[in-house]
């Protein structure tokens, strides 16, 4: 019982601390940082015509529309559209609106150019999905309104650019054609809609732009059929490919008829054959075709003949043509030359000469140029200058002007795939310490300033200086390990295949590396990164080696595509070793064993359920074989609704002997009835989580033992009907079933049904509890439920005598094969927000109470004390329960504005929250990522184990000095007085 007393005391101690924590205004940015990104740019429009701020409007693959400062690359404004609201087209209208067409052409919005406020939004409807096209004619007016022409959802719409009202719309899908191009002729206010019907017939519609009246309809059949791509070369000429992609068909639209002029690709260039792809660059008079690894530039002559002008390597990037002065049009080409890129600007009617040729030094790490947008300006000598916006392979965005990179943005950080951390090197002689070391004088000065601040003597200037000093404290951005474990490297894997190391102190990039293994190549068509794992964490005998990380990826979309493994050094980012195009990677299991170099053993499971052991050394195999019988794992077949457990059996029997390959066998299976249940979420505990105590002392001095197992799996299933949107089913049709399953034996430990509820389910499993969030259809509200699971088999260990005489089973090992004797407690609460993700804080020793970190729909992170989600909450807790810290029962969970971890900031498109324990027990580090990145420190029970950052050591010192001085002064005074006394 003595133990329980101690625990009660400890608990009491914790309850003394407040439930909610918030920041003071001047603490913002002290230990948190926030970075804004936009993602990989897919379209850009420059706005440089008028005086004022030069800017570029971009639309990205992260569904962001942003206005960037052309001088520095900073974000003027940024709008993040929803996950399903992908931007199709952007344009400028009236010189003051940014027009975006999104959601497959169904939503048209106008944003105010200077500040990004939404001016109007209109929903365009149509009969079927189609290509989305947006044309903003400058001169077209209907009445007083300027008109925007939009082709989407199979219909052509004319929309007023003033208020977004649809003036007329014409259903072209009803005519049976799919429009590929819209051509607006400003001389006679006609719109030409060009498209295919099926694959063989070419159609041309002439529509009056004023009222949508269909004036003329021409069609012509081409025997070879069409591949579907189309490019407008000149005002009356189009280029397309036939269905075999071996012939380029030039289409001429004359007044009365349509003329086809086919040209074989092999006629353009002798030794080239294969399927051709039209590049979407609009070059006016010229078009580009990619055949195999060559790009052909073909000119369309005035009489409709095709003429090859050049052929270039496939790494070349081409911009659209830009008209810059009286009828002159230019476009840009970028070619790679070793560590440099060559930017060439050419006039579209003159291939042989260059308008501009610049050579720019380019970091190899950025890969090849994937997209380019150009803009012109007038130089000081009145000649024309050009600047180019480059989108690189690593998703970064660069502005190039006068042969230099003016600015660059690392926008691949907007698409983080996985995060892990690495410790920094220990401070020692050989290691470089941050350059800015304080001198003693500076230190004292700083503290004097702080002292002034605390004594409220500081002038406003001083306050600014103090704040600046606190924000730029060199302590936090040093490149060495600190005592509290706050300084770490955040290693981030992005969708571009680039790995970054960010410093937790200020978020700066320490190194970045575009992984060679994850770059597009012949053998690996569409590589994607999957996971980051710790490969080598040296701490004892391999101390002088750098830690390294394992990056896994695959060369394709499907799970059976070949895998990629790469090992990188955590301090430099160099790729130490990589395995390309190996067996497929379904699961990577870090095993709890390390070899003599402290490399962790990993078992990689492929799609035929074979296990592959890494590192591939005889030593690793030896270690593995000795622990052979104790390695289990499970797999989830979400589409089938089956969970399976597996164990390692023997070496693979293959044609080629492979001692690192292991066959596996099925041990158990759980089959969910397909007609009533469908798996939507599975959650496990984090591998590195630490639980401080197994016992939980409850109010009446009783002890409950937590059922703590690393092999606990939470599974949520819903009725197959209820997998859709919320509200698509009635409460009677839908139910949510949750399971707690032991993954070694497949035992269902707990199973519970929530009638009338549906997903999406977000859950987090920690210690002996699971918290999950779902929608209650009956109550029309979101709910959060908690299940706590306790081990009854240890419940008899309460007798002190037994403890004394050792007749307890507290120290006996836990085995999954022993029959579990568990009880569960659960409770549900209403929760106002819908949730994007849930995480839980974790600390070094697990003593500090836990907080749930809820990523809300508003892209913020809310810290919610776990005590609010205690299943033992009751309406009137007894005094003992109150003492224990049980909060009176409420039906909903409180959302306190102060408990937002992200305070006033937003992490746009929040996708994940990563929690890293610091070395200081009270503190945990939090990294939230989406389009933005946010990092902060959190102390769920306050920093009970350290002095606060603003503690003034100088004041303490000065006080002590003052006291000593005072003692001396008074001593001297009294001495003197005594002397006087004696002389009298």
């Amino acid at each position: 019982m003595a133990i329980s007393r101690v625990f009660t005391l400890l608990l009491l101690l914790f309850t003394v601390f407040n439930l909610s924590h918030s920041l003071y205004e001047d603490q913002v940015g002290l230990m948190d940082w926030h970075q804004q990104y936009i993602g990989k740019v897919k379209q850009a429009v420059f706005q440089t015509q008028k005086a004022g701020r030069k800017r570029v409007i971009v639309a990205t693959e992260e569904n962001v529309v942003a206005s960037l400062d052309l001088r520095r690359g900073e974000i003027f404004w940024r709008k993040v559209l929803g996950a399903k609201d992908a931007v199709d087209e952007i344009a400028l209208a009236l010189g003051k609106y940014v027009i975006t067409l999104s959601s497959e052409g169904s939503v048209l919005r106008a944003w105010n150019l200077p500040d990004g406020l939404l001016v109007w939004e209109s929903i365009l409807t149509g009969s079927e999905s189609s290509k989305s096209l947006l044309v903003v004619p400058e001169t077209l007016k209907v009445g007083k309104d300027s008109v925007i022409l939009v082709y989407s959802c199979g219909s052509l719409h004319a929309v007023s650019s003033i208020d977004g009202e649809v003036i007329w719309s014409k259903d072209l899908a009803a005519e049976g054609i799919l429009v590929q191009q819209l051509i607006y002729n400003d001389e006679n206010d006609l719109v030409y809609a060009v498209g295919f019907d099926g694959e063989s017939k070419f159609h041309l519609y002439q529509i009056n732009a004023k009222n949508g009246e269909l004036l003329k309809h021409n069609s012509a059949a081409y025997p070879g059929g069409f591949s579907g791509e189309m490019l407008l070369v000149t005002n009356d000429r189009l280029v397309t490919l036939d269905s075999s992609r071996a012939t380029v068909v030039a289409v001429e639209i004359r007044e009365e008829k349509i003329v086809f002029e086919p040209t074989q690709v092999s006629d353009l260039l002798q030794d080239v054959s294969g399927t051709a792809i039209l590049l979407p660059a609009k070059l006016a008079g010229i078009f580009a075709v990619k055949v195999n690894a060559v790009i052909l530039f073909v000119k369309v002559t005035n009489d409709g003949k095709l003429e090859l002008v050049d052929k270039l390597d496939h790494t070349v990037a081409v911009s659209d043509a830009l008209s810059f002065s009286e009828g002159q049009q230019a476009f840009a080409l970028v070619q790679h030359e070793g560590s440099k890129i060559d930017l060439t600007i050419k006039l579209n009617n003159d291939w042989s000469s260059n308008l501009l040729k610049e050579s720019i030094n380019m970091d190899q790490d950025r890969g090849v140029v994937q997209k380019m947008f150009i803009n012109n300006y007038i130089r000081t000598d009145r000649s024309y200058g050009f600047r180019a916006l480059l989108v690189m392979e690593d998703h970064s965005l660069l502005l190039v002007q006068q042969g230099e990179i003016v600015w660059s943005r690392e926008d691949s950080l907007a698409s983080v795939v996985d995060v892990t951390t690495s410790e920094l090197p220990i401070e020692k002689d050989g290691v470089s310490v941050a350059k800015v070391e304080h001198s003693l004088f500076e230190w004292l000065q700083g503290h004097l300033l702080k002292l002034k601040g605390t004594l409220m003597l500081a002038t406003p200037d001083d306050i600014v200086a103090i704040q600046k000093m606190r924000l730029q404290s060199s302590e936090k951005s040093k490149m060495t390990r600190d005592h509290n474990g706050f300084r770490k490297l955040l290693i981030v894997l992005t969708r571009a295949g680039k790995v970054f190391a960010l410093h937790t102190g200020d978020g700066r990039i320490i190194w970045s590396q575009l992984l060679h293994a994850l770059r597009k190549s012949g053998s690996c068509e569409s590589p994607s990164g999957l996971k980051l794992l710790h490969w080598q964490v040296p701490h004892h005998h391999a101390m002088d080696e750098n830690p390294s990380l394992l990056v896994t990826g695959r060369c394709g979309v499907t799970s059976d595509s070949p895998g990629v493994l790469s090992i990188i050094d955590a301090y430099s980012g160099k790729e130490v070793k990589s395995f390309g195009s190996i067996h497929s990677i379904l699961q990577v299991i870090p095993l709890p064993y390390t070899d003599s170099k402290e490399r962790r053993l990993h078992l990689v499971i492929d799609d035929v359920k074979r296990g592959h052991l890494y590192p591939q050394t005889p030593e690793a195999v030896e270690i593995f074989k000795s622990e052979f019988t104790n390695i289990y794992w499970y797999s989830v077949e979400e589409n089938n609704g089956i969970l399976r457990g597996h164990a390692v059996k023997s070496n693979c029997v293959l044609d080629v002997a492979d001692e690192y390959c292991f066959e596996t066998r099925d041990l158990w299976s759980v089959v969910f009835p397909s007609e009533t249940e469908k798996i939507i979420t599975t959650v496990t505990r984090k591998l590195n989580e630490v639980v401080h105590t197994q016992a939980k002392v409850i109010a009446d001095e009783d002890v409950m033992f937590k059922y703590i197992s690393k092999n606990l799996l939470f599974v949520a299933t819903v009725s197959p009907k209820a997998t859709g949107e919320i509200g698509s089913v009635t409460p009677e049709e839908s139910c949510l079933v949750v399971y707690l399953i032991d993954t070694i034996t497949g035992r269902i430990l707990h199973r519970m049904t929530h009638h009338g509820s549906q997903g999406p389910v977000h859950a987090v499993l920690s210690e002996n509890w699971v918290v999950y969030h779902y929608f209650n259809l009956r109550a029309h509200r979101y709910e959060m439920s908690v299940i706590e699971i306790y081990d009854q088999s240890r419940a008899d260990n309460k007798d002190v005598l037994k403890l004394v005489f050792g007749k307890h089973n507290l120290t006996s090992p836990v085995s999954s094969y022993s029959r579990p004797d568990v009880v569960t407690k659960s409770q549900s609460y209403f929760f106002t927000h819908s949730v994007k993700t849930i995480a839980v804080t974790s600390t070094a020793k697990g003593i500090t109470s836990r907080q749930l970190l809820v990523g809300t729909i508003g892209d913020q992170v809310l810290a919610l004390d776990k005590r609010f989600l205690d299943p033992r909450r009751s309406i009137n807790p007894t005094a003992a329960e109150k003492e224990e810290g049980i909060i009176p029962l409420t039906d909903s969970l409180p959302i306190l504005p102060q408990s937002y971890v992200t305070h006033a900031l937003k992490v746009e498109n929040l996708r994940g929250i990563e929690v890293i324990p610091a070395k200081l027990e009270s503190t945990t580090l939090i990294f939230a990522y989406g389009v933005d990145l946010f990092f902060t420190r959190l102390a769920p029970s306050r920093t009970y184990d350290s002095l606060t950052e603003d503690f003034s050591y100088a004041l303490l010192l000065i006080t002590i000095v003052a006291l000593v001085v005072a003692i001396f002064v008074t001593w001297i005074l009294s001495e003197r007085k005594e002397l006087q006394e004696k002389w009298r």
Partner: protein
């Protein structure tokens, strides 16, 4: 406590049995949930598992029809093929609203053949898996797939071979089987041959639990929520003492110092007061200073 509980359980069992004998057509309540301690039953055919539902509920729910259903338990030694090992027989109860549930599950195991025993011995020696499987649908076996469960063979032998099935059901579908023995069985497991080559089987059917309903307060909402918030929004300001202790302590010391000085003062001031006394009697306070 334990024996009395048991006796109550057996008594209730008996009562239920007699009741079910008395009312032959009545069927039992759908609840299949059983706690192992309360009524684990042994495969003896005439000691049918009585339901734990209270007898009063039985009369309420006799709207469905019953039929018998059987399904096979198969076993495998290590990686061998599955062979039949026994049969489960149960009553399939069809409810008026169409749902079907299983009740009165019984299990009869085949005796182990000589070959089986040999196989089992090799399993025990190699600390390998003894695997069982049942169909995932009892009406149309095997359903979508078999439910497999396995246990290290060394976990089973006690005096005989002790096995416990906990079958998780949803209507006529089996979701999962928890299979194993009650004994503690942790790694490294001891090699032990059973003294008796016969299985003692215990079977429990489990169906899903209902989630507790979210508490709903109609009147209390305001007060409790406010109460909760108040607890949350405790004054964040630090106390006066916490903020200014560093000034207060030296101040206090200085004051104390001053006071002690003042205490010493009068001695120094005596000559002055003496002169005053000469001039005339004046009131003299302890703190009067010049």
């Amino acid at each position: 406590m334990r024996p009395s509980m048991k006796s109550v359980a057996t008594l209730s069992c008996f009562l239920l049995l007699t009741l079910s004998l008395l009312i032959p057509n009545s069927s039992c309540f759908q609840s299949d949930e059983l706690l192992i301690e309360d009524d684990e039953f042994i495969k003896s055919p005439d000691l049918g598992r009585p339901s734990i539902s209270p007898p009063t509920r039985k009369t309420v729910s006799d709207s469905g029809s019953d039929s018998k259903v059987q399904f096979v338990l198969e076993h495998a030694f290590g990686d061998s093929d599955f062979t039949p090992a026994g049969t489960f027989s149960a009553r399939l109860k069809t409810w008026s609203h169409g749902a079907q549930t299983l009740t009165k599950l019984r299990f009869s195991r085949k005796d182990l053949s000589r070959e089986d025993k040999e196989n089992f011995k090799t399993l025990l020696e190699g600390d390998d898996f003894y695997r069982i499987r049942v169909p995932s649908n009892v009406i149309s076996p095997p359903g979508r797939d078999y439910i497999i469960s396995s246990v290290k063979a060394r976990c089973l032998p006690q005096t005989g071979l002790d096995e416990h099935f906990v079958i998780h059901m949803d209507g006529v579908n089996i979701l999962g089987v928890n299979y194993g023995s009650l004994a503690v069985c942790q790694y490294p497991r001891q090699f032990k041959l059973p003294s008796k080559w016969a299985f003692t089987s215990h079977t429990v059917l489990k169906s899903t639990e209902q989630a507790p309903r979210t508490p709903a307060f109609s009147e209390d909402i305001g007060s409790t929520e406010i109460g909760g918030e108040e607890e949350g929004v405790k004054p964040l300001e630090r106390s006066f003492w916490a903020k200014y202790w560093m000034y207060l302590i030296p101040l206090g010391l200085i004051v104390m110092n001053a006071v002690t000085q003042a205490m010493n003062m009068p001695e120094e001031g005596q000559p002055a007061s003496q002169t005053q006394q000469v001039n005339g009697p004046l009131p003299r306070g302890p703190g009067s200073r010049r």
